[in-house]
């Protein structure tokens, strides 16, 4: 048992530091930066300043704060983060702009989580971005090549490990806290009834399932299987499209029936699992004069976007 665990850990470690392509890394970073930018741009962050100090409960990473910062400081951080995220998505001085955008998002999401409730819906994007903060320089998206190297593989593999862990631990926590009753009891029915009378976007869907015990058990089992099976589904290349589709169905379902916005989880899964190389290559072929524009000569072979 211990030997098997050691072998598995060794394989995981070897996979983490196995080669990946520059093109895919550049595409993933651009996508994650854009996603961070969208999060920063479309939330009324300045409203957080209205929280009275007595109701402020800072998350560990913001331990040094006694109260919400003033609205002006929050807006300044938001603006800086949006600009930095846009530049990072374009590939401009990415090793500086991406960390700046990430820190802005970390602080603002931390403030949002300091209202008394752990905000899980920001966590996957925050954590998945961490390996890319230390990623090596790559060329801009229009110049990056499908050439592979160990230096370009580890950030995506590490982020994928976090994503797989997040889903697996969510299922494992259900199993540890509730056991089989999470599926076998009326748990899912009450979750959906509460959602239907709460923030559900389409309460009819929640009620349709909640009114049918057999369907509720099936949905609960499906949720548990998807979460616990997430790492296994990643192992096989052919099941990866199913994982992406499953993530969109799962988070779309929670949005419709419970009103919980976890769309960014699905987009993180999409960004990390899609093989962007062929997509970008196809795009390049479709754009007339791409080679001239991207100046793909030996002179441009040195990473320049750092």
């Amino acid at each position: 048992m211990i030997r098997a665990a050691g072998v598995a850990a060794g394989r995981l470690w070897a996979w983490l530091f196995s080669p990946g392509s520059e093109l895919r890394l550049t595409a993933v970073i651009s996508g994650l930066a854009a996603l961070v930018g969208v999060q920063l741009a479309f939330f009324p962050w300045a409203e957080l300043a209205q929280l009275p100090p007595a109701l402020f409960r800072p998350v560990p990473v913001l331990f040094f704060l006694d109260e919400m910062p003033p609205a002006g400081a929050i807006v300044a951080l938001q603006a800086a983060g949006v600009v930095a995220a846009a530049l990072a998505a374009l590939g401009w001085r990415r090793r500086r702009t991406l960390p700046l955008a990430w820190v802005a998002y970390l602080v603002l999401a931390g403030l949002r989580a300091s209202r008394g409730k752990i905000q899980h819906n920001d966590l996957l994007l925050v954590v998945a971005c961490v390996p890319f903060l230390l990623a090596p320089p790559t060329r801009w998206l229009h110049r990056a090549t499908p050439r592979c190297s160990v230096q370009w593989g580890w950030p995506i593999h590490t982020a994928l490990t976090f994503v797989a862990g997040a889903y697996f631990f969510t299922g494992l926590r259900k199993l540890i806290s509730s056991g089989p009753a999470w599926v076998a009891s009326d748990n899912m029915r009450w979750i959906l009834y509460a959602g239907a009378h709460g923030k559900a976007k389409v309460p009819e869907v929640a009620l349709l399932i909640a009114d049918r015990p057999w369907l509720s058990h099936l949905v609960a089992a499906g949720v548990m299987a998807f979460e616990l099976g997430f790492p296994l589904l990643l192992l096989h290349r052919r099941t990866r499209p199913l994982v992406v589709a499953g993530a969109f169905c799962f988070h779309g379902f929670t949005w419709l029936t419970l009103g919980l916005d976890y769309w960014k989880y699905a987009f993180v899964v999409l960004l990390l699992l899609v093989e962007w190389g062929p997509v970008v290559e196809r795009l390049r072929r479709a754009v007339p004069g791409w080679d001239v524009w991207s100046n793909r000569t030996p002179r441009s072979s040195t990473p320049s976007s750092a």
């Binding site: 394989r11 996979w15 530091f17 196995s18 080669p19 990946g20 392509s21 093109l23 895919r24 009324p44 409203e47 300043a49 209205q50 929280l51 009275p52 100090p53 007595a54 109701l55 409960r57 560990p60 990473v61 931390g110 989580a113 209202r115 008394g116 752990i118 920001d122 954590v127 961490v130 230390l134 090596p136 050439r147 592979c148 160990v150 230096q151 580890w154 593999h157 590490t158 490990t161 862990g165 631990f169 969510t170 494992l172 926590r173 259900k174 540890i176 806290s177 999470w182 748990n187 009450w190 979750i191 009834y193 509460a194 009378h197 923030k199 990643l234 192992l235 096989h236 962007w276 190389g277």
Partner: protein, 167 residues
């Protein structure tokens, strides 16, 4: 093992990578490997143990079994005539959206801290009602409605945890 072309099982070029490229070029240094190992270790520990250390977490999303009957918290706006009206916490500014969760720790606060927190909730109460002279915080027991045509009924049990007068 048959049919599995997993990256995990056969470390090597993946996805759109070109085999035979510069696979050993610029391999990450010891610092990167240490960082990856340490961060992954923290991620695994918090996930396995269920620790909350934001941005690391124990991933407790809907992990406990839900029942039809539940205990919740209610903030009441007390008028000059003593009338009590529930404050709808869902329709307050974004700053107050964590209040229902924050109240779970209300019991554990020291009396002076409770008074300060109760007064702070007065700002939220006054955002919905003009004539608020006090705030009450109740621990209530309710039942999730099943019939979509019926709104949630009144609490079946109510325990007053704190009441404060606003200035």
């Amino acid at each position: 093992m048959v049919g599995i072309d997993a990256d995990l099982l056969v470390p090597g070029p993946i996805d759109d990578a070109v085999p035979g490229g510069d696979e050993g070029e610029g391999a990450p240094g010891r610092g990167i490997r240490l960082f990856v190992g340490a961060f992954l270790g923290l991620f695994l520990i918090t996930g396995l143990v269920g620790l909350e250390a934001w941005p690391l977490t124990g991933w407790k999303l809907y992990s406990h079994v839900r029942h039809g009957d539940f205990w919740d918290w209610q903030v009441l706006a007390v008028g000059a005539d003593g009338a009590e009206r529930a404050v709808d916490l869902r329709h307050l500014p974004a700053a107050y959206h964590g209040v229902p969760y924050l109240l779970k720790g209300f019991d554990g606060l020291a009396p002076p801290d409770r008074e300060v927190a109760c007064s702070a909730l007065g700002v939220a109460a006054r955002a919905q009602y003009d004539d608020v002279t006090g705030v009450a915080v109740d621990h209530v027991r309710g039942r999730i409605p099943v019939d979509p045509g019926n709104p949630p009924g009144p609490p079946t049990r109510r325990i007053r945890v704190h009441q404060c007068t606003l200035e």
